[in-house]
C-alpha cells in the first residue's frame, strides 16, 4: 500500500501532473474565496479543461480544486466576515472576531494549518480505508448493490433540511430523469415521445451542470445590485505575518479537538451527497459542547476556527473514499468528478482499486500533495485573494456560463447537450424557487440506472423478491434505509412540534 502511495507521489510530482494539480488548487482557492461561488460551481468550470488531459492529469486538477476550495473560503471568512463557501460559515464565527481583535494573521493561519492537519487525517483514512471497503463491496451481489443505493438515497433524503416529502420527491425526480431514453437492459426506447432530443435520455453532466450552475447563478442575479462586488472590503488588505511554529503549536496542543473535528468531517464526507457545509457546522457545535469555555465561542477563540477548518478538509477524504470504494458520490463536487471519470472511460466502484490501482494511488497522492500546495499558495497569495473578491459579478457570471456551455458541448460535441443544459438550468432554478432540495435529485440521477440494473439482475438470478430482505447484508442495508427515513420523519415531526410549542409563526 505505502509502496504504491510512494510511487503515486513520485508520479504526481512530475511536471505533467504537478502543473494541473497546482492550477486546480489555485482555481479552487480562488473559487472558495469568492463569496457566492461555490465549490461545485468551481469544479463545473474546471471540468471542460480536463477533457483534453489524460485521466490522472484531469483528476489531479479536480482533486486540487476540491482541496484548495475547502481552504479558500476561510480567507474571506476571517478577514471580511463573509464565508467564501458554505464550508467556511462556522470559521466566520471566531475567525472574524479574532481578526478584528487585531490578529488577522493568527486567525487566517490557524485556519490554514487546521485545514492542513484535518486534511492530512482525512488523507490517512482515505489511503487506509478505501481498499478494504472496496474489497467488502466486491462481495456484494445485485441485491446488496440495490440495497446500498437505496440506503444512499434514503440517507440524503433524510438529511435535507426542508420537508421530508420534498426530499423524497426530489430524489424521485432524479430517478425519473434516468428512465427517459433507452432502457439499460434491453435497449428499448422509453418515454421519448418519438423525439430525437429525448431518444438517448439526458446525459448526467449537462443535467448536473444546468441544475447547479443556474440554480446558483440565477439566485445571485435575483439579488444583484449594481456593482455587486465586495469593493468596499478591500481598501487595505491586512498584513498576515505570524509565527507559524506558534500557530501550529496552538493547533497540536488540542489533539482531541483536531481529531474529533476531523472524524466528524470524515463521517459527513462518507455520507452521500452532503459535504463540508454540514461538516463545519457540526464540528463547531461539537467543539463548543466539549469545550471548557463554551462562552468564548463566537468571540474569537482558536477552537472554533480549528474545529471548522479541520472538519471541512477531512470531509474531502471521506467523500473520496465513498466514490472510490462504492462509486457513490459523497457530494456534488465528487458527482462531477464521477462524471469526469466516466468521460475518460473509468468506472469508479469496487473494481476501481483493483483494475486502476495506479490511478487510484495517483488520486491519493494528488490529495496529499494538494494539501501542501494549498498551504504554499496561501502563504504567497492569501492577501491577493481578497483583491480577487472585487471582481464584479457582471463579469464573473457570463464567463462562468460560457464555461458551462463548453463543458456540456465538449462531452460529445453535440449542441443537444447545450440545450439540455438550458432546459435543466430552467428546471433547477424553478426547483429552488419551489423549495425542492437539489442534492437528492443529483443522487437519484447518478444512482437511477444502477438501481434499475441491479434490481433486474437480482430478479433475473432468482425471481424470489424476498431475497432483498433475507440476504443478510441486503436486509441490513434496506433496514437501515427504512430507519433513516423513519428517523428523519420523527426528527421533522419533533421540530414542527417544538415550533408550535414555542409559538413560531410560519
Amino acid at each position: 500500500m505505502f509502496e504504491l502511495l510512494g510511487l503515486g507521489i513520485i508520479d504526481i510530482l512530475q511536471w505533467k501532473y504537478l502543473v494541473p494539480l497546482c492550477l486546480g488548487t489555485l482555481i479552487g482557492i480562488i473559487g472558495g474565496a469568492l463569496p457566492g461561488v461555490t465549490l461545485t460551481m468551481t469544479i463545473i468550470v474546471v471540468l471542460p479543461f480536463t477533457f483534453g488531459l489524460d485521466p490522472l492529469q484531469g483528476l489531479a486538477a479536480m482533486v486540487g480544486v476540491y482541496v484548495g476550495g475547502e481552504s479558500g473560503g476561510l480567507i474571506t471568512a476571517c478577514l471580511l466576515g463573509i464565508p467564501g463557501t458554505p464550508s467556511a460559515v462556522a470559521t466566520t464565527f471566531d475567525g472574524f472576531p479574532l481578526a478584528r481583535k487585531g490578529e488577522p494573521g493568527r486567525a487566517v493561519w490557524l485556519g490554514i494549518w487546521a485545514s492542513f492537519f484535518g486534511g492530512l487525517i482525512g488523507g490517512l483514512f482515505l489511503v487506509a480505508a478505501t481498499a478494504p471497503l472496496a474489497r467488502l463491496a466486491l462481495e456484494f451481489g445485485p441485491w446488496e448493490y440495490f440495497a446500498l443505493f437505496v440506503l444512499a438515497l434514503s440517507m440524503v433524503v433524510g438529511l435535507v433540511e426542508t420537508s421530508i416529502v420534498k426530499g423524497l420527491l426530489s430524489g424521485a425526480i432524479g430517478l425519473v430523469i434516468t428512465i427517459i431514453g433507452t432502457d439499460p437492459i434491453m435497449g428499448v426506447p422509453r418515454l421519448d415521445f418519438g423525439t430525437d432530443f429525448l431518444k438517448n435520455g439526458f446525459p448526467f453532466l449537462p443535467v448536473l451542470i444546468g441544475i447547479f450552475a443556474f440554480a446558483q447563478v440565477m439566485s445571485e442575479i435575483e439579488a444583484m445590485k449594481p456593482g455587486g462586488a465586495l469593493e468596499r472590503a478591500i481598501t487595505a488588505a491586512p498584513k498576515l505575518v505570524v509565527s507559524h511554529v506558534r500557530v501550529i503549536g496552538e493547533i497540536l496542543a488540542r489533539p482531541f479537538l483536531l481529531l474529533w473535528s476531523s472524524i466528524i468531517g470524515l463521517i459527513i464526507g462518507i455520507l452521500p451527497a452532503i459535504g463540508g457545509s454540514a461538516a463545519n457546522m457540526m464540528a463547531y457545535d461539537q467543539a463548543k459542547k466539549f469545550s471548557k469555555h463554551p462562552e468564548k465561542f463566537g468571540t474569537g477563540t482558536p477552537e472554533g476556527i480549528i474545529a471548522s477548518e479541520a472538519s471541512n478538509n477531512a470531509n474531502v477524504g471521506g467523500s473520496l473514499v465513498t466514490i472510490m470504494a462504492f462509486g457513490i458520490p459523497g457530494d456534488a463536487v465528487t458527482a462531477v468528478m464521477l462524471g469526469a471519470m466516466t468521460i475518460h472511460g473509468i468506472q469508479s466502484g469496487p473494481l476501481f482499486m483493483q483494475q486502476q490501482s495506479k490511478l487510484a494511488y495517483g488520486i491519493f497522492a494528488a490529495y496529499l500533495v494538494a494539501l501542501v500546495v494549498t498551504v504554499l499558495i496561501l502563504w504567497v497569495a492569501a492577501r491577493a485573494m481578497l483583491r480577487i473578491t472585487a471582481v464584479p459579478k457582471s463579469i464573473l457570471i457570463p464567463v462562468v456560463l460560457v464555461l458551462c456551455v463548453v463543458g456540456a458541448y465538449a462531452l460529445n460535441n453535440t449542441i443537444g447537450n447545450v440545450h439540455i443544459l438550458l432546459l435543466w438550468g430552467v428546471i433547477g432554478y424553478l426547483m429552488v424557487k419551489g423549495g425542492l432540495p437539489l442534492a437528492p435529485l443529483i443522487l437519484g440521477l447518478i444512482l437511477g440506472d444502477q438501481i434499475e440494473i441491479n434490481y433486474i439482475r437480482a430478479i433475473q438470478t432468482d425471481a424470489n423478491p424476498w431475497l432483498f430482505l433475507t440476504r443478510p447484508i441486503s436486509g441490513v442495508l434496506l433496514g437501515l434505509a427504512a430507519v433513516s427515513v423513519a428517523y428523519a420523519l420523527w426528527q421533522h415531526h419533533r421540530q414542527a412540534q417544538r415550533a408550535v410549542e414555542s409559538g413560531t409563526d410560519f
Partner: protein
Amino acid sequence: MTRDLVAGLVCLAISLVLLAATRGLPEASMLVPIGPGAYPRVVLAITAALSAMLVWSGWRAQRSSRARSAPREAAGQSSGGVRNYGLVLAAFAVFGSYTLLLPYLGFRIATLAFVAAMQALLEPPRSARAWLVLIVVALVTAFGAHAVFERGLSVLLPRGSWTAF
C-alpha cells in the same frame, strides 16, 4: 397558491403523463423477467404519490395562511425581500438566445455577443471605461477560451453554419 401547491401540481401532472406513456412499452421476455416499463411505472407511481402528498400539504398550508393573512395585511406586513425576477428572466432570455444561435454563428461570434450582452444587462456601462472593460472581457472570453480549448486542449468548439467561423 403556495409554492408547495404549485410544485406538487406540476410534478403530479408530469408524472401522470409519463405514467400513461409507459403503457405501450413491451412486456417481460424469456431473458428479462421484468419488461422495460415495469421499473419506470414503480418510479413514476412513487413520484405521483409524493407529488400528491406535496399538493395536500400545500393546500393545507394555504388554508391556514389564509386564516392568518387578514390580520397581517391589516398590520401592513410585507412578504419577503426585493427580488429582481425581471433580471432573471432577461438573463435566461439572453442565455437561451446564445444557445440557439451558437450552431449558426459559431462559438467565437456567439460567445462575444453573449458575454457583451450579459455584462450590459447585469451592469449597464455608464462610462467609456466601462464600455472598454465590457468589450475587452467579451473579446478575451470568446477568443481566449477558443484558443485554450481548441489549440491547447484539443477540445473542438462549434463552428457556425452561417459564418463558417
